[in-house]
């Protein structure tokens, strides 16, 4: 479990050196010690992992790989992955500075994930669910045809088997390298959700940091319940794009989970430590 939690198990404790230089932008650091990007306190990695990859001091939620998140979300030893072998065929032969084919190869090097989403069925506190988790480590969790297909299959299976669906989003949006094909995944996942919705199926959408672009503008915002992790960045347009367009500074806390809650687009902010129990409770309330 700890193996899964650590993004870079076994890496040398170089972070001790870095601690002396104040760095605010450290996000997923490695080593024994690390500095929390929010409270800038130095924290012991093991403490952070024990706290489900949050800062024990200020509750900053560190990003998690899909694998680690699944391990934290479902009951131990009860996750059965689906469609794990799907890979993209590079539909538009996208080549810019680096070819998409090469990017895919690099991202899946060493037998890591084959695309930016893991889906499957498992149990959360004994309740069976279909779970899909996006993986920010793989091309910024972007949605191309594979992610779209896996989500759609997960939705269809939840619909057919009358199981609650949980999708944990953590994504930069639709995948640029598949262009219009990626865009169409927004339509595809949303139309599958339309059928789930009409059959009365429960869909809990969990928004982790970050959830942006085409992911937000499709399945992520269509949950019967929408939970967000504290301080998660959630939005459609990127903050830089907005700032460039309107040429003013963006307000403090803009596009953060708390902002969305205040504006009425998120049902609850759920700390990682409560996610399992909150999902379980919601399932209980929604099962007829």
């Amino acid at each position: 479990m700890t193996q899964v939690n650590s993004p870079h198990p076994g890496s040398p404790p170089t972070a001790v050196m870095r601690v002396s230089q104040p760095r605010k932008n450290v996000d997923v650091p490695d080593g024994l010690w690390l500095r929390c990007p929010t409270c800038t306190q130095i924290i012991y990695r093991k403490d952070m992992e024990k706290a489900l990859n949050t800062c024990p001091n200020c509750d900053h939620h560190f990003r998690l790989s899909a694998k680690a998140r699944i391990a934290l979300t479902v009951d131990a030893g009860a996750f059965e992955e689906m469609d794990r072998n799907l890979v993209s065929c590079d539909p538009i032969e996208f080549t810019a500075r680096k070819s998409y084919r090469q990017q895919l190869l690099d991202a899946s090097k060493g037998g890591k994930a084959k695309d930016a989403l893991i889906s499957g069925c498992g149990f959360i506190k004994g309740r069976p669910v279909i779970l899909a988790v996006m993986d920010f480590d793989f091309l910024a969790g972007s949605m191309g045809a594979v992610v779209g297909e896996k989500i759609t299959r997960a939705i269809e299976r939840a619909t057919q088997e009358h199981l609650p669906l949980v999708i944990i989003s953590c994504s930069g949006g639709a995948r640029m390298q598949e262009s219009a094909i990626s865009l169409m995944q927004m339509a595809k996942t949303s139309s599958a959700l339309s059928r789930l919705h009409k059959r009365g199926g429960l869909y809990i959408s969990v928004l982790a940091d970050p959830t942006t672009g085409g992911t937000t503008a499709s399945f992520a915002m269509l949950g019967d319940l929408i939970f967000a992790e504290p301080k998660a960045m959630i939005g459609f347009a990127g903050p830089r794009t907005i700032a460039n367009t309107i040429r003013t500074e963006l307000p403090e806390g803009f596009q953060r989970a708390e902002f969305l809650l205040q504006k009425g687009f998120v049902d609850r902010i759920v700390p990682r430590s409560e996610l399992r129990s909150q999902i379980a409770r919601a399932i209980d309330y929604c099962s007829r």
Partner: protein, 380 residues
């Protein structure tokens, strides 16, 4: 029956429709169109059988795209000759005829070999007809309906009822604006959440009363602003995608200019998707893509090529069902002819879709959307 009704309703939209058939220059209702009408008459042998070209009344001025400059130069020459002919009473007919033939050949040659970036330029051409132009040209009895009954009336999206061909429809389209004032009013076609919610409200109204929905897509993307995010533009688009996928009435979507990302798709889910020949449709604008990959927008031409955003590429990928041919030299050279093609497509497609029982239609729509992209993945 629809025809009979059209004869009775002698409102102001009627003469415009007749004009469309007889290929008169469009009414000078908009600066952009009036300007391009001067260009139109100088283009004989456009895709539709055009009437004999009249001498141009205005010199061919206006913004020229870089690759269009030789064309405009030739047009200017023709215009000068025509003016000289009138002033001096000398007959230059053979010369003019020859130049016009050259012009047609030049336009044909230029437009046959447009690069993806040049296609993007054509799609953004200031004189390219927009939703309101098409409404003026092909929609009879158009009655605009405003507002989303939640927050406001977004001018970037036009919604209303009217007749196209033999069909009563709900028309929904992005509108970029034709003069500066209008452009600012509708934020250059970049809609706020209200625009998408207004579109949905009108679509649901249409479904309730059995009106098919026709959407004209022409946006660089949804508006990136604070208010837009505050009022949940992502949610508005997401809900539209979900609801349009099962809207119980035929839905036809046509990209008439720019198809920029989620902002385009937000009114773009339906039974058929078509693109005008020189429109573009992509997950991100070439500038945006260039900004991400090269950290500035200088490489937009390369990005445009990499994104495969032309109608031809997207037809091959199976993302769109049909390409609607534009007149020679693009819709901005002959808005009437472009409108005619569009009208014919809508009329034919709605005829087809309305013959399908609703249950079958919705199942086919689902399957059509469901299959998008599946051929591009494999078990690795």
């Amino acid at each position: 029956m629809a025809k009979k009704k059209s004869l009775k309703h002698q409102d102001k939209s009627e003469p415009e429709i007749q004009a469309a058939v007889s290929h008169q220059p469009p009414p000078p209702s908009s600066g952009s169109l009036a300007q391009s009408s001067a260009v139109t008459v100088a283009v004989p042998g456009a895709t539709t059988a055009t009437a004999a070209p009249e001498p141009p009344r205005n010199p061919p001025v206006g913004m020229a795209l870089e690759f269009e400059k030789p064309i405009l130069k030739l047009e200017r020459q023709i215009y000068d000759l025509v003016v000289m002919q009138e002033q001096r009473g000398v007959d230059y007919t053979p010369e003019i005829q020859q130049l016009r033939e050259n012009l047609t050949a030049l336009i044909r040659k230029t437009y046959q070999n447009l690069s993806p970036w040049e296609v993007v330029q054509v799609a953004r051409h200031p004189a390219r007809p927009q939703t309101r132009d098409y409404i003026d040209m092909i929609v009879k009895d158009f009655v605009e309906l405003h507002g989303d009954r939640r927050f406001g009336d977004d001018r970037a999206v036009i919604t209303g009822t009217g007749r196209i061909g033999g069909h009563k429809v709900m028309l929904i389209g992005h509108h970029k604006g034709r003069d500066t004032k209008e452009k600012i009013g509708c934020q250059f076609g970049c809609a706020n959440p209200e625009g998408y919610r207004k579109a949905l409200l009108k679509m649901q109204f249409a479904a309730k009363f059995g009106l098919p929905v026709v959407t004209l897509i022409d946006t660089a993307g949804a508006y990136p602003g604070i208010g837009s995010e505050e009022r949940g533009v992502a949610e508005a688009i997401a809900v539209n995608l979900r609801e349009m996928s099962s809207l119980p009435t035929p839905v036809v979507c046509i990209v008439i200019g720019e198809g920029g990302s989620g902002g385009a798709l937000g009114i773009g889910v339906g039974d058929r998707t078509a693109m005008l020949q020189f429109a573009w449709y992509s997950v991100i604008s070439p500038e945006g893509c260039s900004g991400i990959l090269w950290k500035d927008s200088q490489n937009a031409p390369d990005a445009a090529a990499a994104l495969k955003l032309t109608s031809e590429a997207l037809k091959k990928l199976g993302v769109i069902d049909e390409i609607i041919k534009e007149p020679l030299g693009g819709a901005h050279r002959n808005p009437r002819a472009a409108a005619d093609s569009l009208e014919r497509f809508i009329d034919r497609t709605l005829r087809e879709l309305r013959a399908i029982p609703l249950d079958t239609l919705l199942e086919q729509r689902y399957q059509r959307i469901r299959c998008l992209g599946t051929q591009t993945i494999a078990a690795g």
